[in-house]
Symmetry: C2
Subunit: 296 residues, 2 copies
Amino acid sequence: MTLGFIGLGAMGLGMAQRINKDHALKVYNRSSEKAASLVAEGAQQATSLQDFADCDIVCSMLSDDAAVEAVYLAGDTLALPLKENSISISHSTISPPMVDRLVAAHEHANVRFLCVPVLGRPDKAAEGQLVAVAAGERSAMDEARSVLEAISTRQFWMGPTPRQAAVTKLGMNFMIAAAVEALAESFTLTRKAGIDPETFLTLITETLFSAPIYQAYAPLIAREENPTPGFKTALGLKAVNLAQQTARDLRVPLPTAEIIANQLRTAIAAGYADEDWSILARLMAQTASLPPIKRR
Amino acid sequence: MTLGFIGLGAMGLGMAQRINKDHALKVYNRSSEKAASLVAEGAQQATSLQDFADCDIVCSMLSDDAAVEAVYLAGDTLALPLKENSISISHSTISPPMVDRLVAAHEHANVRFLCVPVLGRPDKAAEGQLVAVAAGERSAMDEARSVLEAISTRQFWMGPTPRQAAVTKLGMNFMIAAAVEALAESFTLTRKAGIDPETFLTLITETLFSAPIYQAYAPLIAREENPTPGFKTALGLKAVNLAQQTARDLRVPLPTAEIIANQLRTAIAAGYADEDWSILARLMAQTASLPPIKRR
């Protein structure tokens, strides 16, 4: 089985490294130097997208709709040269309408298409500990199982229509955004009342909210840490905007999303686009005239 | 040691039952028939609040500021007859200014006051599995430890100023309200996109959001269950309103709270004041023209 991977950003690199452990892997990135570490680990560097024409499964992890369009599409047809009956997997978080366009283009080219966005930050990607949210033809998913298992500890099949995975991912991202915003608001409120953030942190993460998402973000917020961005503020706004667009298309109210998007826009306006989106909390603390937290 | 407990509502009854297991307990409720089961278990029924004058520790669990004022205060002085140097514990979720009034009145009467709101729904109260959020004089908390341990598995001491526990509780309640609202919005979005609520439920509760609060509320929302109210919509609005009032007093932004309060007001206007506040999700699903979920 010949495998290909396109897009070696913070997430894609870790995912490709995991797949490369068990499979012969051909990799491609727009700026080719990102492939160096993978080539050192035995991966083959593709010189152009044409090199994927012999692959059985080709995955991609790209930043947004525009990047996905540039790689896959020429108008309504599939520009990426994939062989008939191969499996094409999109891991990117993109809009449901873009997924629908990919579905149509792949169908026309007789290539099986799976939409498999992932949950987890770059550190989880490097450890193969992502959660895969998959939709598309079930038999294709079964054939691609070893690839999905290389990158993820859990695989959820959301249904036969690829956009179902895309909407599920948007729903999860919205939940995460809402959790980050709730942490920002509640830490600001309690700090302003003179409550020790470390005690509030313990209360949250060891009782009702003892879940990975709070264990990841609450310490960053309680300590005002500047982590290597796991999820940049600009990506956070993209995720919430996609959820809002989908809600508009489906005629669904999503009342808190507008406030969260506004907070993210404010953070970006303040110059924090490339910071981890937990920066929302620091911005809110500043708005409330709280002094910076002393690092321990 | 003689103990007293005032207020035998859904929460108070369970808490009093737990304390009654290990201590001689005198109990009081405005409508006295609520004490019957406790009296059957050996508790002594107080005929009036005067009966607490010989107690070493008196706890109360009342519904709101007004009920607390009626039991404890006559203007600025302590109306509840408590002996000097006894310990008075308020478990109710009340406003920080009301806590400050209780502090002043107890101080004047030489009674030690602890503010100890609890986290957990009535089923947890009956099992002694609450989380106690305590503030006040540390030595009084140590003396009252056996009482707090009878009702809770974890005790957090937030500091020497009783209002610190009150604000912490409001911050936690706000986090819970934000979680219920995020579930309502994300389930509505994904259901409208044709995603199976049971699969989305599993994804949430077994991955990033595997925490007690989501394990409690997400199934109610995914299945549109009508549980015995653990937390009524009217109480939810009270909790969010208290957080907002505190945020206003402290000059803290709390941007999503207004939206959540508005959703709760809408639910109450629709006649759901006495339903569990997870009803928010059903109301949102109706707004999005989703059909009722079939019960399994």
